[in-house]
């Protein structure tokens, strides 16, 4: 057998012990890896009702059988845990080099349990696994932490995944950063790591990832790579413009959320889109994650005088160096949603989020909510230490920095937009689902995205059912609700089974699908996977996550959208007058999922999926 290494690491921080266990191969076959396998272990080992920030929560780092191979975009690992932001199961994905390095060290997963009595980090060099003191790293940024661990260990090739000051301070949307700019970003997985007093996991691996049928595997990866090279998105579009290429078309249909989702178009879009980043000279080059043949990463530099204009106290030495970002999501959340058209402010806020270890989507949307509270006179300049106006780059940067260090009003923003708006008496200003802030697509102008957000198991997310692909770039009517339930289910199952579980990046899906992934998985593992089986595995994963959430206390009532999306029509632009008609789609969605009217999987469905 190949693909999997067949071993997992179990780390008990309370007892300060480390164990190597054999991988449960039956589960691996039925859930593949990554998101699926991580969820299987979490579901089996943990009561979903535990407090996400208590030592009872487990934090799982899971790779897939294609992680560390030459399959294009086989770079990914998933962080699976109960999210600090949502209280739901989360599966937060990251690229870079960390996942492959863990495989090279000889492990498919790391399961972290308990809580260390004081700051610790985990050191893995092949068979050498140690829990080391991280006292001297506490309070350091993620970038400093990576450098310090490499220096003190004398292993320059060690790859580090760490939390920053935000994770240490339990900012609810803190993330885990590896390779400086790659993030397991969403749902507060960094806060869970911080609650365990675990600063970092550093890995160096010198072994190989073997394959069951090497020759067939190379053929399969080459076929998929050739297809990706020919596709306009994966072959050239994303390399040239990055995901930022999405901003203009989404703005054109009036679905670019602006001013905390009050509007669907942003005036400043010309100043912050893909073209502008290139023209202004801030874009230096593009960069790939491990094994990626797309290379969508944006390598950028602050060049517009931002360093002089804005006051930042964190790691100032870095402001002159190249760094990465922004992706479309960050340029939107830190830009359009806050009404900010200054690229330097967006870049600096993006770098700061990476250094402090915070999800820029949730950060931007939370700042936007705070700005609306300020607009309404609920928050004052005195409270915030600055005029928290929409459009103010200075205000954005101050909020980001204050949130990461939990200073002043930042301590309130650190709780995320749902808790922030509730605390100040305006819960209707929270733009998100299940506690997690929306990404960059207004569901009023894109009906399918609304259903995807409402039913995503980790709260609002664009990566679980990207219906915008069909609604903006494909042939589906974005304003209709017909067929959106079917599309959402199909995308959810396809994504879970073929990319999220196997170790691939979901961005491959413009060019390749399950029929390309199957030969790779089959040749890697030696198991005769089929397309039907992969889709069924995807469905199984989605249902298992759903069961976790039901046990954690979620109900059908949580499969909803904020009132603004359901009842306040988009005021102007091509989506003017529209709201999201979730009620037309949700019952149909439950029905084709084989769930009852309360959104619970029926016993027959569970039996069919082997989850009974």
């Amino acid at each position: 057998m190949g693909g999997w290494t067949g071993k997992i690491l179990r780390v008990d921080l309370t007892r300060r012990s480390v164990k190597v266990e054999p991988l449960n191969i039956a589960w691996a076959r039925d859930f593949i890896g990554g998101r699926g396998l991580g969820a299987r272990y979490l579901f089996a080992e943990m009561d979903p009702r535990v407090d996400a920030l208590s030592p009872d929560n487990k934090l799982i780092f899971a790779t897939g059988p294609l992680t560390g191979t030459n399959a294009s975009c086989g770079a990914r690992y998933m962080v699976v845990t109960k999210g600090a932001l949502t209280g739901a199961i989360t599966t937060s994905n990251s690229g870079g080099h960390w996942g492959p390095e863990l495989k090279f060290a000889g492990y498919d997963m790391v399961i972290v349990e308990g809580k260390a009595p004081e700051p610790m980090y985990l050191w893995i060099y092949d068979d050498e696994v140690e829990i080391r003191s991280a006292r001297h790293l506490w309070g350091r940024t993620t970038w400093e932490t990576e450098d310090l661990i490499r220096e003190e260990s004398g292993v320059p090739d060690a790859v580090v995944a760490s939390i920053g000051p935000a994770g240490e301070r339990l900012v609810r949307f803190a993330c885990i950063i590896n390779d400086r700019h790659r993030a397991a970003g969403r749902s507060g997985v960094g806060a869970v790591m911080g609650s365990k007093n675990l600063k970092a996991i550093a890995v160096r691996g010198t072994r190989g990832v073997a394959l069951a049928e090497p020759k067939a595997f190379l053929e399969a990866t080459w076929t998929a790579k050739a297809r990706m090279a020919k596709n306009p998105v994966t072959g050239s579009g994303f390399a040239k413009f990055g995901t930022l290429a999405t901003m203009d078309p989404i703005n054109e249909v009036g679905a670019l959320p602006t001013f905390n989702h009050q509007q669907g178009q942003f005036e400043g879009v010309q100043q912050i889109g893909a073209g502008a980043l290139k023209k202004s000279g801030r874009l230096l080059t593009n960069k790939a994650c491990f094994a990626c043949t797309i290379a969508c990463g944006r390598v950028t530099k602050v060049t517009g005088g931002g360093v002089e204009r804005y006051t930042i106290y964190t790691s100032r030495k870095n402001w002159r160096m190249a760094a990465e970002g922004p992706e479309y999501e960050n340029a939107w959340s830190l830009g359009a949603d806050c009404g900010i058209a200054d690229q330097d402010a967006i870049l600096m806020a993006n770098y700061l989020c990476n250094e402090l270890g915070m999800d820029p989507i949730s950060m931007g949307v939370t700042v936007a909510a705070a700005m609306e509270l300020y607009e309404k006179g609920v928050l004052t300049e005195e409270q915030c230490g600055i005029a928290l106006r929409f459009g103010s780059g200075g205000a954005l940067l101050k909020m980001v920095e204050d949130t990461g260090w939990r200073r002043g009003i930042g301590a309130e923003l650190a709780e995320g937009a749902m808790r922030l708006t509730a605390r100040f008496g305006h819960p209707e200003l929270f733009m998100g689902v299940k506690g997690q802030e929306f990404p960059a697509y207004d569901p009023r102008g894109l009906q399918g995205m609304g259903l995807g957000y409402a039913t995503s198991n980790r709260g609002a997310c664009h990566l679980r059912a990207f219906t915008a692909g069909a609604e903006v770039f494909g042939k589906m009517d974005r304003t209709a609700t017909d067929g959106k339930a079917e599309l959402t289910k199909k995308l959810q199952d396809t994504g879970a089974g073929s990319y999220d579980a196997s170790g691939l990046c979901s961005f491959v899906d413009s060019a390749i699908g399950p029929k390309d992934v199957v030969p790779m998985l089959a040749a890697a593992t030696g198991l005769p996977y089929t397309v039907e089986e992969i889709l069924k595995i995807g469905e199984r994963i989605h249902n298992l996550e759903r069961l976790f959430n039901l046990r954690a206390g979620f109900t059908a009532k949580d499969d909803t959208l904020p009132r603004r999306m359901l009842a306040e029509p988009t005021p102007s632009g091509p989506s003017a007058g529209m709201v999201n008609r979730l009620a037309e789609m949700l019952p149909r969605y439950y029905e084709i999922r084989g769930w009852d009217a309360d959104g619970r999987p029926t016993p027959a469905k569970l039996a069919d999926l082997g989850l009974a």
């Binding site: 491990f290 094994a291 043949t293 390598v299």
Partner: protein, 161 residues
């Protein structure tokens, strides 16, 4: 003696490691970058990425250093190759190489290096951006001199074998 060589175009490199993966697969039959003889360096703060591997120096220090003549020239490709049977694993070549492109395998206890894959380098094939091209090198000021040394050497080996 116009052998082709691996030309590196750093501006095109995205740091994707496909070259290391392909190389390690040739060496081991698995994906194991620690056994790749081409190594990619990511200079993140300078926004620059580049692979490097053996230049197949015309006057090769590894050959000069080897006490048992375990490094030979492949006459077809010009590659300097390690003769596994002869290599005694003393690792002198890894010290002699000024570019760090001679490696030591602790499992086999032998030296190993780039052999240009017998004239079809896997790294160049795998690179998605053509940042590695296998082609005739453009002559520079050192070339005529190095060619002379090189052909003298080749004559010596071919007449002795």
């Amino acid at each position: 003696m116009a052998h082709r060589m691996l030309r590196i175009v750093p501006e095109k490199c995205t740091g994707c490691m496909q070259c290391e993966l392909a190389c390690s697969f040739v060496q081991t039959g698995a994906f194991q970058p620690s056994r790749s003889v081409i190594r990619v360096h990511l200079f993140d703060e300078q926004a620059s990425y580049a692979p490097y591997t053996c230049f197949q120096c015309r006057e090769a220090w590894c050959m000069t250093a080897c006490p048992v003549n375990a490094i030979a020239v492949n006459l077809a490709t010009g590659a300097k190759v390690v003769l596994e049977q002869t290599c005694v694993g003393c690792a002198l070549c890894t010290i002699a190489c000024p570019f760090g492109t001679m490696f030591y395998n602790p499992d086999t206890k032998k030296a190993f290096k780039c052999n240009l894959c017998e004239g079809d380098p896997a790294c160049a094939r795998a690179c998605p951006t053509a940042a590695i091209v296998y082609e005739a090198a453009a002559p520079d000021w050192m070339t005529p001199w190095a060619d002379k040394v090189h052909s003298r050497y080749l004559e010596a080996v071919s007449s002795s074998s």
